[in-house]
Symmetry: C2
Subunit: 251 residues, 2 copies
Amino acid sequence: MQASDGGWTIPEVAVTVDLAVLTVRSGALQIMLIRRGVQPFRGKYALPGGFLASTMEDTDTAAARELAEETGLDPSDLHLEQLRTYGSPYRDPRQRVITICYLAFVPHLPSPTAGGDALHAVWSPVQPILDGDVRLAFDHDQIVADAVERARSKLEYTTLGAAFCPSEFTVSELRMVYEIVWGQRLDARNFHRKVTGSPGFLVPTGARSRQKGGRPAAVYRRGAAELLHPAILRAGSRPVAGTTPHDDMST
Amino acid sequence: MQASDGGWTIPEVAVTVDLAVLTVRSGALQIMLIRRGVQPFRGKYALPGGFLASTMEDTDTAAARELAEETGLDPSDLHLEQLRTYGSPYRDPRQRVITICYLAFVPHLPSPTAGGDALHAVWSPVQPILDGDVRLAFDHDQIVADAVERARSKLEYTTLGAAFCPSEFTVSELRMVYEIVWGQRLDARNFHRKVTGSPGFLVPTGARSRQKGGRPAAVYRRGAAELLHPAILRAGSRPVAGTTPHDDMST
DNA sequence: CCCGTTCTCGTCAAGTTGACGATAATAGCT
DNA sequence: AGCTATTATCGTCAACTTGACGAGAACGGG
């Protein structure tokens, strides 16, 4: 459990790398879960992940490799970032386990997963987890809550909403991503003006989508911009009108 | 190095909790460093921190305790948040060490620290580190760069700029924090309008500061608001603050 | 060919930002 | 006291952004 280092021993702990993989499907924000086959929490759902191998693998690389295994997709196409590290002492009943958690945004996957670890992987809507109606293994409820909040925030000031869309998409598809992740309706006309007016957000392909009804929409691809200036703010995060800008101190 | 768990062994690695403690002093954004007394990187400067004790201490708690030891301040007064976890395999030449790094904003500390670990602690301007003119131990240059970028970003959309100020401060002091952290001049009149118009950012104490010259400024305390809506965005870059030599904490 | 639907462009009032003039209130100096 | 330099605070105005919403464009389906 400890390695010697010139008369001093360095304590060691178990470390896992877990993934919070979010997607938008069936009109809901969903997260990838696996059903645990071993104790503890056998039979419960948990985030995919695993112990950091004793090999000298970078944690970022380990997360990308796991993501590729679970989704069957090239991780260079997907958005993957570190979410947070969870180090509460009793989050694993066996022994102390610290989890480095990563957050991924993936588009609606066309085929079910193919990797070996992913045999038990399922997509599950996040809302029942946030509401406490579904309980996950360990402290993964909290991780899911953190992941969703990070995702909602990221849509405001980055172009990552497009990471939930396929490589080619319309403004309406992007708007529905925002509406589903934020859980609120957006004005289609103002949203269109906003995203098409943000330099580098959308690159028109020239093609037009055809669907059941309505005017065909222009098809776009993701642009090079990653940050949005200014941000697209969710309702409720706007200043309250009526407050006096210059308030007298004498009160 | 491994613990048995029903026929399977869980690999373990060494974990440290490090601190990136930022402050504004002498007109520059500075970070707390310690001079290493042991190998590796003996004599080099590094972020304060230590191996995660084998005790069942929460990593957040461990970071807060270390911060209190280094600064001598009550950690409940200070802003402390997790920055990132660094897990590159060869960042420590001895063996694999994963570092959970925390970010703290502290005001200009009036008195030197009293703890034992802090005897060698110094404040050092971040700019030479960002420029590559000063090299730290391990990958701590990168951590400092991440910490500064996080701090600059946090000033935009949170009220954490006030965490660099003493408990009572003026708008000018707050503006200088912004100017120093962002490295650009801000219009004093627009900044005043902006921060006094943000509900919950500043609470007037009724007192007025007296200083060398000029009209006395109203004195404020931090308000309850943590998020700024809308954000204060940095704009045109105009470098302002120079760098000062290494400054002992007991100044 | 009409109709419902969706996409896209315009318009307008309200609010915010950036540039900057003007006034207020102090210290230091003669 | 009067003057000046300095800093704080208040106002003004044009340019821009936002939210609400009208209106036309371009389809599929009856």
